[in-house]
């Protein structure tokens, strides 16, 4: 029987992990919500952002968080370009399926370029506060994990406010709910879809930077992430950002607590068990309500 302090420590770790998962999955759910695009390359962009943060830190010594000033706008533009130049060329009837193939190849290209530019050597950002931690009611909270969690919270809150309280957000939500109707009331849905994609990719810049603070990175790392992230957005309800956030929290916490009694291998399968159960019992997801209808 694990001690109370270990359980509490695991809950703290689970919350931090869940926050990071929520941030990483947010973009995926946006793409699917706006355009029915299954974006396999999302995690490759995460690793790309992590590499950019690592590279900038190695070359100039700047704090990786400062790279956000460059990577967030850069990824936004790249997202808009990717949507306008590549994804719009796919036929609407087969969009979802073909987007898997298209973004799969984008992921391979990113992985290849990272390997070419930085080699397969595993890298880690060396920060003065990498191993620093704070005491929190008897549990230890790592500073880098706290920063990553803060980034996730800020990015998700920003996303929420943008979606709820800006004209762009309203237009994006309208496009998500009913594209034709949105077009009829005068929304330029093509442009909105482009911006929506850019927004999703901008979250990848934030997520990748958060990831870079506390992980060893290498070009093929993205394959380890795409599975759990896909599971999260399906459980959360495809297209629902709050659904993905709740699912990410729940799964992160479950994984962390299961590890106390079961082995790591079993704890990791929680994603796939949840994915399977969701598809079998409630294919529209547990937290998002009807498929992609709500934000």
């Amino acid at each position: 029987m694990p001690s109370a302090s270990l359980v509490f420590q695991s809950i703290v770790l689970g919350v931090l992990l869940g926050g990071l998962y929520a941030l990483l999955a947010a973009g995926l759910t946006l793409y699917f919500g706006v355009m029915r695009v299954v974006m396999i390359a999302h995690s490759a962009f995460l690793i790309l952002a992590a590499y950019l943060a690592w590279y900038a830190h190695r070359e100039t010594g700047v704090d990786p968080l400062l790279t956000l000033l460059v990577t967030v706008p850069l990824f936004f533009v790249a997202g808009v370009a990717m949507q306008r130049l590549l994804l719009t060329r796919l036929r609407p009837a087969t969009l979802t399926m073909m987007s898997v193939l298209l973004t799969f190849s984008v992921a391979l290209v990113i992985e290849g370029l990272l390997g070419y530019a930085f080699s397969g050597t595993q890298r880690r950002i060396r920060l003065g506060y990498s191993s620093a931690s704070l005491e929190f009611f008897g549990a230890r909270v790592a500073v880098v994990k706290l920063i990553a969690f803060g980034l996730a919270a800020a990015a998700l809150l920003g996303l929420y406010l943008l979606m709820r309280h800006s004209r762009f957000g309203q237009a994006l939500r309208a496009t998500i709910q009913h594209r034709e109707a949105a077009a009829l009331v005068g929304i330029d849905t093509d442009r909105i879809a482009g911006y929506g994609f850019g927004l999703g990719l901008a979250t990848a810049a934030v997520g990748g930077t958060a990831l870079s603070l506390d992980t060893t990175i290498y070009p093929s790392l993205h394959w380890h992430w795409i599975g759990p992230l896909m599971a999260i957005i399906v459980v959360g309800g495809l297209g629902s950002v709050p659904g993905a956030a709740i699912a990410a929290m729940a799964l992160g916490m479950t994984q962390s607590l299961l590890q106390l009694e079961l082995s790591t291998t079993w704890a990791q399968t929680v994603f796939y068990v949840a994915l399977f159960a969701t598809l079998a019992v409630r294919p529209q997801g547990f937290f998002g309500g009807r498929l992609a209808q709500r934000f």
Binding site: P2, S3, S5, L6, Q9, S10, L13, L16, L17, S119, G120, T121, Q122, R123, R124, R126, G128, S130, S131, A132, S133, R140, A142, V144, K145, D214, T215, T216, Y218, L221, H224, W225, Q255, S256, Q259, L260, S263, T264, T265, A267, Q268
Partner: protein, 408 residues
């Protein structure tokens, strides 16, 4: 471009064209053992794909070996020529590569590839043709369970014996200083797990309690929970059966939880050149087993380090040294048996000689049991004063083992 330069270009082009034609005609003609013919040695290596980093290291080691041998006049007075194919880290390709090298190219000798996953299928081909198979990279127990009769692993020890010197050291400590409880975390991989469990078996026999025993899959990226269990157990010692990224991630996760063991040992990660860059100044006192060090004062190692550095611009690491050792072992057998060709009699002489003799190498003297397992142990290194130094065994040590380890 000057005239002489242009001329030399032409000569080079002509020469290579002639060489190509000669090679074209030569194949299928069979190889006669004339004293002027080079000894051709076939290797397949993962130059691309998953194992390309270590694969290229092994390639450099083989090339350094061939150059040093040739500079001294070759083997049995004949030059050594390497024929290296790329198997793309693919177990099917490695089989067809060795089939091609042995069957079509009629190489005189073969050397092993990198990684257990490729060594086993490659060894099967060599065994089928009755060729001696010395390899630089199969430390996992399963390599030696296949019943190979011609296989020799050219390194000091198999995975389970990597921590032997450390086990002896711990069990010899006075009761009061000896760690009473140990936490083990190992990757689900025959090599990594083998190292940790070798130590676990010995310490448990010596009465030291195991308080955590975690196995994690190779794709684990989050080590928070494993670290939390280890920290909560307050074990006196932590042992990681790790490769690189998991070892680093686990160490940082343990540091984040402010866990301060009296002893910490991790395989592979601490000996990599990237390790200190990843962890910074928090490496002090971390122990690791290693099969090779540039500082070992075996005579051939000094020569290897010097000439390798001349050739490649930096000092060799463990992968390069393993390949070089493989070359040395084969060379010793060839010199003793006075033959180097595919015919059965010669290959059997080589195998028989290695079975009964000891070979001086860059990792020290090596000899093998009847399954090809080397009969030594790895050295133990420790981060002392910001540098990784040999602390065990006594004869090789550069610094005293620091125990208990300083806080990290």
């Amino acid at each position: 471009m000057s005239t002489t330069q242009r001329l030399s270009w032409r000569v080079a082009a002509l020469a290579s064209a002639t060489a190509l034609t000669a090679a074209g005609c030569g194949s299928g003609g069979g190889s006669e053992d004339s004293p002027d013919d080079p000894i051709t040695i076939g290797v397949s290596l993962p130059l691309t794909g998953d194992f390309s980093e270590p694969g290229k290291g092994v390639e450099r080691g083989y090339k350094a070996w061939a150059k040093i041998v040739n500079d001294k006049g070759g083997l049995l007075g004949r030059k050594v020529e390497l024929k290296i194919l790329d198997d793309q880290s693919n177990a099917d390709r490695v089989v067809s590569d060795y089939e091609q090298l042995i069957g079509r190219d009629q190489v005189d000798l073969v050397l092993g590839p990198f990684s257990t996953r490729l060594v086993v299928p490659a060894a099967r081909v060599a065994e089928e043709y009755g060729l001696l198979f010395v390899e630089p990279a199969g430390a996992a127990p399963e390599v030696f369970d296949q019943g190979f009769k011609n296989l020799f692993y050219a390194a000091p020890a198999v995975a389970n014996d990597h921590y032997n010197h450390l086990a002896d050291y711990i069990l010899a400590l006075p009761e009061a200083e000896r760690p009473k409880s140990v936490a083990y975390a190992a990757m689900d991989d025959p090599f990594a797990q083998g190292t940790a469990y070798g130590l676990k078996d010995k310490l448990e026999k010596g009465g030291i309690k195991t308080v955590v025993d975690e196995v994690y899959p190779p794709n684990t990226t989050d080590f928070g929970s494993i670290a939390a269990q280890i920290a909560s157990s307050k074990a006196d010692m932590v042992v990681g059966g790790s490769q690189y990224q998991d070892g680093v991630n686990l160490i940082v996760a343990l540091q984040q939880l402010n866990y301060q063991p009296k002893m910490a040992a991790f395989s592979t990660a601490p000996t990599e050149p990237e390790f200190a860059k990843a962890i910074g100044d928090k490496t002090e006192g971390i122990l690791a087993p290693t099969g090779y060090t540039q500082h070992a004062d075996y005579p051939s190692n000094k020569e290897f380090v010097e000439k390798y550095t001349e050739q490649f611009g930096k000092a060799p690491e463990e992968d390069e040294a393993n390949a070089y050792t493989t070359g040395q072992v084969v060379a010793a057998a060839v010199e003793a048996a006075k033959c180097a060709s595919q015919d059965e009699e010669c290959q059997q002489k080589l195998v028989k000689w290695l079975r009964g003799n000891e070979v001086e190498t860059v990792v020290g003297p090596l000899k093998w049991d009847d399954k090809g397992r080397p009969q030594s142990a790895h050295m133990i290194q420790q981060w002392v004063d910001g540098e990784i130094q040999i602390v065990l065994p006594e004869e090789q040590k550069e610094a005293d083992l620091v125990h208990p380890k300083p806080k990290w």
